[in-house]
Point group: C2
Chain length 388, copies 2
């Protein structure tokens, strides 16, 4: 049911081949001292770095660099970034990269003016910022997380073997995001399909929750159909602009809070996948792909009607002559076949998990309460084993 | 194709049974002198007026009333409202009502500080505001137009026999809107189903445009399925909270610019319907219903593939053994049967159009260029005659 909620998403999006033109429109609104955050340097190879720098300079900004943000940003990197931002007296953070870079920029934003242990405050205690935050803007170069239009930030603590996400309120949302689908053309195929599954998981983890079906469920079915269609096209031709633009746009709307309205939301697949990543440092979307089907097959008996609806609406399963359970199971079989065809990693052993790690992964998995079944430790163990 | 666009929708929504609690959170952000805009007084019968007044008083506001906004707000009323707002030195406009009241509030907002002819500037020349505008907030009591989360404003000039809408930029969007589905329970059935068809037309007029299909098309199919499902429930039981809340939420997303991205958008049905209203003053959604099928049947040959997709995705037409054209036509037949069952008015004679009016309606119909066929005057005449 659509209960009581507030909805506000003030992020301004510039979309399309000319999206970067928006940067020059936005920068004058913010201070002169800019922390430029990016990853391993691919933006220097594809020319995006130079274009961004020239716009920053033309807008009279003083640029302080914070490079080397890794795919799963760590607490150590966060501390380094906070120190850099403080030393630079940064007034604005420009994140150029994928979801990890955006996530990291938000984590720096809420930590710069906080004197205590930011990891503990935001990712263990799930506190809201009580200090001033720095405005963040984003130039997106990889697609999946939806971080470009939400308050989400995921940080990994290797010493504690934890990878945890905090969804901040709208004051931490990027003020603007630059979305040029062409920037994603050069992303390696492994990252592309990993991102596609991250999007799919975002939608499914909201869809498979709640006791009723409302407008959000119908919209999510539309987003899923669009994603599957465009993924198939992009898998054949990664530079198909239309497919990549639809994937980019679907990613944004899969996790910008719109389709969450009226839904309990689950996120147990993310908890399982994040536990795998905390031990293996594997690519985010692949960790989700590897645990999804064991999880969904486990909870199917607790949400059979919804899985059957999914099978019909998204995978076009013909229900004639089948029980609801059979329809539901056929939907997951079609999903599995599609995932394999796309090239997703279907088990965690391929992601570097070893038998010795399994119990640690079980221990690192947080238990959520929004899905069809609140998992026991024993159930988590069974799902992790089935994912191996 | 998703081309170049910017997307920003900063309106804050408070949704649900407790939505009015949001009013006290928002009012302190705005000035003391509030122009309270509403319609024919139904808000005094159902208690909403009293609740709003008590919150305004509790927030220390000075309230200046501007009542009597009619279903199709006129240029004369607009002039009166501007005079009231000026006399009151209003700093904020609170619209309490349906789409007409919201539309009117925005028209007053952009006209208060404009000395010239606002009708000419905004609705004939489609100029943007060049003067300061007043912030607008909205308490919605009727559903359909989507005016609660967009820049749209429709004004009727009876002396010129024109009803014209202007879609303003984001600075004219309501700063916030209060959406309590229970407020719509007491709306008469005629208005309820008229609003439902207005929502449907908003979606269809964006859906039936453009040469390709993108994420927006898939999302619109989801919105349409949700709307049809909830309309059927609400028609049986108008106080079904879940159905009314889904209709309310669908209305907002049907016309808040989200699903327009990547679409040419048509709006010819609105042009036809608005011409009918300019001559008959009939209820908005009913004018759209009465002209829709003659229009869609006329343009079907120019967009057969999309009409066939619509038939399958929304009306579950089985394509087996049918040509694409037959599938497309079967979709419109199912839509027609559904419209009749819901109780929509299917011809303009029932809306008060007389044979003498027809040529005037043809003359008042603006021609749009975003649909599958740019209509000639002769085609408009044929559609109006077929709608009679």
């Amino acid at each position: 049911m659509l209960g009581n909620f507030t909805y506000c998403n003030p992020t301004k999006l510039y979309f399309g081949k000319n999206a970067l033109d928006g940067l020059a429109q936005e920068l004058p609104k913010y201070g002169k001292r800019v922390l430029l955050v990016y990853g391993g340097g691919s933006i220097k190879k594809n020319g995006i770095y130079e274009r961004v720098i020239s716009i920053l300079k033309a807008c009279g900004k003083e640029v302080f660099e914070d490079a080397g943000v890794m795919p799963n940003p760590t607490t150590e990197k966060l501390e380094e970034g906070v120190a850099r931002a403080r030393a630079a007296k940064a007034e604005f953070i420009l994140a150029v990269g994928g979801g990890s870079v955006c996530d990291y920029a938000k984590a720096v934003s809420v930590s710069v003016h906080y004197e205590g242990d930011a990891w503990k405050k935001y990712f263990i205690d799930f506190d809201e910022p009580t200090c001033p935050t720095l405005p963040v803007g984003c130039v997106l170069t990889m697609v999946g997380t939806g971080s470009e239009m939400n308050g989400g930030s995921v940080i990994t603590n290797h010493s504690e073997k934890l990878k945890i996400g905090h969804v901040f309120g709208e004051e931490v949302f990027p003020k603007f995001s630059i979305l040029n689908p062409e920037y994603t053309f050069t992303v390696p195929r492994y990252q592309m399909i990993s991102g596609i599954y991250d999007i799919m998981s975002h939608i499914l983890e909201q869809y498979f929750s709640g006791t009723d079906d409302n407008t959000s469920d119908y919209v999510m079915e539309g987003l899923l159909r669009s994603l599957i269609h465009s993924a198939d096209v992009a898998a054949e031709n990664p530079t198909d602009y239309e497919a990549r633009s639809n994937i980019m746009w679907t990613a944004t709307w899969a996790l910008n809070t719109f389709v969450a309205q009226g839904k309990d939301t689950d996120w147990e697949v993310h908890m399982l996948g994040q536990a795998v990543a905390a031990h293996t440092d594997a690519t985010h979307g692949m960790t989700l792909a590897a645990v999804s089907l064991p999880y969904y097959r486990h909870i199917l008996p607790y949400g059979t009607a919804k899985f059957a609806r999914y099978a019909k609406a998204v995978w076009e399963v013909d229900p004639a002559g089948k029980t609801e359970r059979e329809v539901a199971e056929e939907g997951l079989r079609r999903m599995e076949a599609w995932m394999k065809k796309l090239g997703l990693v279907m088990n965690i052993s391929e992601l570097g998990a070893t038998p010795e790690m399994l119990e640690g992964i079980v221990e690192s998995t947080l238990v959520m309460e929004g899905g069809y079944k609140v998992l026991t430790k024993e159930e988590i163990r069974a799902i992790i084993k089935a994912s191996y």
